[in-house]
């Protein structure tokens, strides 16, 4: 088998599995749905791992699979670029996907859409692989939109629930706003750089660094800034950066396995991956980098705040994801692309872990997702408890765990950066550490420690958030029955938790040196050392992973995180009256957070209602009244009226005609006599 065949098989195997299960899922036995797709994704993971090892040896593949079309001298091709960047993504995507496939066997066990779900997640794996393996912008856009499609299908998986089908439409449309900018960016790339092929674009770009374009007459903008910002708008949609973040919290309407796979570990990081892939372009525009930096910093801090007040277990993790995506974006902004990729990878593991653990808790709680109704679960679900603790510790950046290495590197990189906005960003990422620790451990304590509040919680709880399928016997009520106790899940659920917990602990320690400071991303990620020296300063301060962790114990982030954990312990374990008191004192702040800064209501009122209002105005006045009423039917009426007048002339009376003739003859005579 040649390497090209392997590259082709990696995305095709999940696709074939998805198609088989999608088309024949209802005819085939139920278990075949997971066997076929797990086989496809498993093989794809094994091959990806092989390709990764191959890429580690320095092999790079860049070639076309077929020509999509040729027009106007531009050939649009479908092809692969396999280097360490894409190989890393391939391994992460297929690994998390495989874990989620296995987990789904347990989570979706009784769902009537069992085979449909497996088909979708395999289709997602295909789309995501096409995105990361692409060697050109056209295919990147294909993968970009295809993952959006699958996300749409999966958020609306329980299509009977009004909230789910509202959320999926919202997700698709908000993503389309981003894609709108992205597509224009692609158009600019083709026009000004003459190709959509990465390699060709990157080689031409430096010569155009000084060029300007006049988008608005009279205003000269740097070409690279315009291109990079347009492309980044796409990333803002997909990676949920303010103000295009609004879809991600609502996407939690989807089943939990896909929240882990799509809305935490892989799809939402596509934007981060894209910018890292485009580093040769972004390096040419410090303005664009500043823009990226500021957007990321706002997302990192302000989305973190929202995590504090959420009571739905999935929404806490969702806001945490938003905030962490902000961290990655900040890293991109300070030209620390490799750090962003590093955090992307560690985050994929521990956030998928946290989501799947949350799903395990949700199952144990019989689909009650309100953390106020939980408590003390550690006794009943030991595996979920330990793995959640590991995930949370990794998330808040505990030294030696994976999240520490990636997050601390981001914070350090921001510290050494001096581009516009880096001061604000440094404050945001530092404050974010405290916030992250606080909301993470608030959730952790409320779920696993303290009083067993599910004893007193009403079984018919108002807060339904999962499964509405009436085929579900056990889902007709939400929450535990009064005499029921939560229990640990089957191995298909706990095994992925354990397998994800391992990299959440060790991957940072192992990977930091080669990924950030070694030659891992050499030739793939391009940094202009002179203009953006943050990474090289970082490298000069690095003396091994263990030393970094020990040094981390003496730095601000560690103490901030510790303070966050202690404060949440105080608030939610010791003195629950304090948060209640704060809540009543700071009503205004609380309401601002409750309304998520008003983004949703603004979008609903301004964009959604506004478009509908404009649409009916245009239709009723433009089409119905003006064009049809006045012109079309008006013309018909006018002709009718003229005909009515003319008809009067044909009276049939001889003396009318005779009179007309005399007048006519008279007029003619006058006319000719004058000549």
């Amino acid at each position: 088998m040649t390497m090209q065949t392997i590259y082709l098989l990696i995305p095709m195997l999940p696709l074939i599995a998805a198609v088989i299960v999608g088309l024949f899922g209802r005819q085939l036995p139920r278990a075949s749905a997971h066997w076929i797709t797990i086989l496809g994704v498993g093989a794809s993971f094994a091959l990806s791992a092989y390709v990764f090892m191959h890429a580690l040896e320095g092999h790079v593949f860049n070639g076309a699979v077929y020509t999509w079309l040729v027009s106007g001298g531009s050939a649009f091709e479908v092809g692969f670029l396999i280097d360490k960047l894409s190989a890393t993504m391939m391994v992460v995507v297929t690994f998390v996907s495989l874990m989620v496939h296995i987990y789904t066997i347990g989570y979706m066990e009784e769902d009537p859409g069992y085979s449909r779900f497996f088909s979708y997640i395999s289709l997602f794996t295909f789309s995501m692989l096409m995105l990361v393996m692409s060697n050109n912008f056209m295919q990147l856009f294909f993968g970009w939109e295809a993952v959006g499609l699958v996300s749409y299908l999966l958020i609306g998986f329980w299509y009977k629930r009004p909230t789910a089908i509202y959320a999926n439409l919202k997700a698709f449309l908000v993503n389309r706003v981003g894609d709108f900018g992205f597509l224009l960016g692609i158009g600019m790339v083709l026009y000004f750089l003459g190709s959509l092929d990465y390699a060709a674009v990157f080689s031409v770009a430096p010569q155009l660094a000084g060029d300007t374009v006049e988008i608005i007459p009279g205003m000269e903008w740097s070409l690279m800034t315009v291109i990079c910002i347009l492309l980044f708008i796409g990333a803002m949609g997909k990676s949920a950066q303010v103000p295009l973040h609004v879809w991600l919290p609502d996407s939690m309407e989807g089943p939990t396995p896909i929240s882990a796979l799509i809305h935490a570990a892989t799809m939402v990081t596509a934007g981060i991956f894209m910018v890292a892939r485009m580093s040769p372009l972004y390096e040419l525009s410090t303005t664009a980098l500043s823009f990226v930096l500021v957007i990321g910093a706002i997302t990192a801090l302000f989305m973190g705040f929202l995590g504090i007040i959420q009571n739905d277990i999935k929404r806490v993790v969702a806001y945490s994801t938003l905030s962490q995506l902000g961290y990655m974006t900040v890293a991109l902004g300070v030209s620390a692309y490799s750090v962003a990729m590093f955090h992307l990878m560690t985050h994929a593991f521990f956030k998928a872990l946290l989501f799947l653990a949350a799903g395990s808790v949700i199952m144990a709680m019989h689909h009650d997702q309100d953390i106020r109704n939980m408590g003390g679960l550690r006794k009943y679900m030991p595996v979920t408890w330990i793995t959640s603790l590991i995930g949370s510790l990794a998330l808040i950046g505990t030294p030696f765990l994976s999240g520490f290495y990636s997050k601390d590197s981001i914070i350090e990189a921001v510290k050494y950066s001096d581009i516009a906005g880096s001061g604000f960003a440094y404050f945001a990422v530092l404050a974010g550490v405290f916030v992250t620790a606080f909301y993470s451990f608030r959730m952790y304590f409320l779920v696993f420690h303290g009083k067993e509040r599910w004893m007193e919680a009403k079984p018919h709880h108002a807060h339904h958030d999962d499964h509405a399928d009436d085929a579900h016997a056990h889902d007709e009520h939400h929450g535990l029955a009064p005499d029921e106790k939560p229990h640990e899940q089957k191995w298909v659920v706990t095994l992925p938790l354990v397998l994800l917990a391992i990299p959440s602990v060790v991957i940072g320690y192992i990977a930091i040196e080669p990924m950030l400071f070694g030659s891992f991303f050499k030739g793939v990620i391009h940094v202009d050392q002179a203009a953006h020296p943050a990474m090289s300063i970082l490298a000069s301060h690095f003396h091994g992973a263990a030393a970094m962790a020990l040094h981390g114990l003496q730095t601000w982030p560690f103490w901030l995180a510790l303070a966050g954990v202690l404060l949440s312990w105080l608030f939610y374990m010791k003195r629950p009256d304090i948060p209640a008191a704060i809540k009543s004192r700071c009503d205004l702040i609380y309401r601002v957070l409750e309304n998520k800064y008003g983004f949703d209501s603004f979008n609903d009122k301004f964009f959604a209602a506004g478009s509908r209002c404009l649409g009916s105005k245009l239709w009723q006045t433009g089409d119905v009244k003006l064009i049809d009423g006045a012109i079309v039917n008006g013309t018909a009426r006018l002709i009718g009226r003229i005909a009515g007048v003319v008809r009067q002339l044909q009276s049939g009376l001889i003396y009318h005609y005779a009179f007309a003739m005399i007048i006519g003859a008279f007029l003619l005579l006058t006319f000719f006599m004058k000549v």
């Binding site: 077929y66 749409y152 299908l153 299509y159 449309l173 224009l184 158009g187």
Partner: protein, 497 residues
């Protein structure tokens, strides 16, 4: 060798003769025979068009398979046919869609089956005639004749308000067509010929070109339809039976756009450049304004009709930016829109046949009772929203890329469709297909029959096929588009003007 046969004549006359033969089966007692004959006829018609692809010389941008016989010698009128890379995909689309329509109307049409089927077969031949006529009078005859079966289809098998719709349709088109005839007569006086190719060589002053262009514009803009002469289309669609809507949207709208490429632009290239700003403005209004209007439609067919107008805006935009990306994007968009709009109207037909309502509000949660159908509907909706991997993406993508090379803001406005196209399509899908079962009609729905599955399945294959691999279309069009663009780049103003 196939090339000795009059391939284009066969493509035109096989369906027409088949249609006439179907008429002879008489009244509805032999409806079954009429159906099978019609199916055989449509398949024969499709097979007759295949040699146009298989025998096509991809390197040649000029007219191929030409047939030329004297028809009315006194006026130098010829029976002159020929196709190039621009017309061949449209001819194939026509014969393909005709098969789809025959199968789609199989059990649905119960009254006057033979006449219904015959109308579509004859219409198919006449439309192929429009796409391949190189003599302007022959073209004009096909152009007008093709309307007759369409009037009949809407007028006989249409909805309650069909008379208003038919008359509106008729008057709109007639107005334009007459001016086109005037233009042809003027050109005849200049050249003593009705041959299109002679007109291509004729030098004309700018004012004359502008007048000729505007005369053609009146005829073609109505057909496309461009804003503001579009209001007949939603009414016609709403009243037309499903088959009529499919042909109207899939093929008839393309006649106008094709005719711009065949007549208005090459005959009056300087006027085309001179008026490009005007045409682009109208196109962009079509794309953006109509998208907003589509958003608030309550009738599914109206919504799709408005969506068609918006999508056809991409076709005219692509043609009048005068670059290969735009031009080929426009052609791909025409073909793709043929499949997608046809499929969307068939989807509405599937629901209408069961519930007898086109109102979005009459549905809700259809996916519960018709899961297979819902899967198709979501696929076609996504294609309509221009999702990459479906044919709907290709044309829009190329046109936006092409438009950006002319003016950033053209691309900006056109790309808004990414948002609004998705908004109106998916919002409709949400209200019709998702949610709890809306009412007892929806609860009683039966999923697709085998016949319906076949029809939608074939279209789904085309939509995905051309989305994943659109190269076959552009391979056909490349040479002709290059030739057309170089022709358009040369001024036809008389020397010294």
């Amino acid at each position: 060798m196939m090339t000795d046969l009059p391939i284009i004549s066969l493509a035109i006359w096989v369906p027409i003769l088949a249609g006439i033969a179907v008429l002879f089966t008489g009244d509805d007692r032999r409806a079954c025979l009429a159906r099978w004959m019609a199916l055989a006829g449509s398949i024969a018609g499709f097979l007759a068009t295949l040699p146009l692809y298989t025998e096509f010389n991809f390197a040649d941008g000029g007219f191929q398979f030409q047939e030329r016989f004297s028809w009315i010698p006194a006026f130098n009128i010829h029976y002159h046919l020929g196709v190039d890379g621009i017309s061949v995909p449209l001819v194939l689309l026509t014969s393909f869609i005709t098969m789809v329509v025959v199968v789609a109307g199989w059990e649905v049409i119960e009254k006057r089956v033979a006449q219904y089927m015959a109308a579509f077969l004859i219409m198919s031949g006449l439309m192929i005639g429009v796409f391949s006529a190189l003599d302007s009078i022959l073209y004009y005859v096909f152009w007008e004749a093709m309307l007759i079966p369409m009037f009949l289809v809407i007028g006989i098998w249409g909805g309650p308000n069909r008379v208003y719709a038919t008359i509106k349709f008729f008057l709109y088109t007639l107005l334009g067509s007459l001016l086109m005839l005037v233009a042809f007569i003027y050109l005849y006086h200049q050249t003593d010929s009705f041959a299109v190719t002679d007109y291509y060589q004729l030098p004309l002053t700018l004012p004359v070109q502008v007048l000729i262009f505007l005369a053609f514009f009146m005829a073609f803009a109505v057909k496309i339809p461009m804003w503001p002469v579009h209001t007949w289309l939603p009414d016609a669609h709403v009243e037309a039976p499903t088959g009529g809507s499919v042909v109207l949207a899939a093929i008839m709208l393309k006649l106008g756009a094709y005719s711009f490429l065949r007549f208005a632009m090459p005959i009056a290239p300087d006027a085309a450049h001179y008026l490009a700003g005007f045409m682009i403005t109208l196109s962009l209004i079509s794309i953006v304004y109509i998208a907003f209007v589509a958003l608030v439609q309550k009738d599914m067919k109206k919504l799709i009709a408005y969506s068609s107008i918006s999508h056809m805006g991409f076709v005219t935009l692509g043609m009048f930016i005068f670059n290969p990306l735009g031009m080929e994007g426009a052609i791909v968009q025409m073909i793709s829109h043929g499949f997608i709009s046809g499929a969307m109207f068939l989807c509405v037909g599937v629901l209408y046949d069961r519930v007898h309502s086109r109102e979005i509000a009459a549905y809700g949660g259809v996916a519960n009772t018709m899961p297979t159908f819902a899967a198709f509907a979501v696929l076609f909706a996504m294609a309509n929203a221009g999702l990459p991997g479906t044919s709907g993406f290709v044309g829009e993508f190329l046109v936006i890329l092409g438009a950006l090379q002319v003016n950033f803001w053209y691309a900006f406005l056109a790309a808004l469709t990414l948002i609004f196209g998705a908004a109106y399509t998916l919002w409709m899908v949400k209200r019709v297909f998702f949610g709890e079962v809306g009412n007892h009609n929806v609860a009683a729905l039966k999923d697709l029959s085998k016949r319906e599955f076949l029809v939608l399945g074939v279209l789904a294959v085309m939509v995905i096929g051309f989305g994943v691999y659109p190269a076959p279309i552009t391979e056909l069009t490349n040479a002709s588009v290059t030739q057309l663009l170089s022709h358009l780049a040369q001024s036809k103003l008389p020397a010294g003007y």
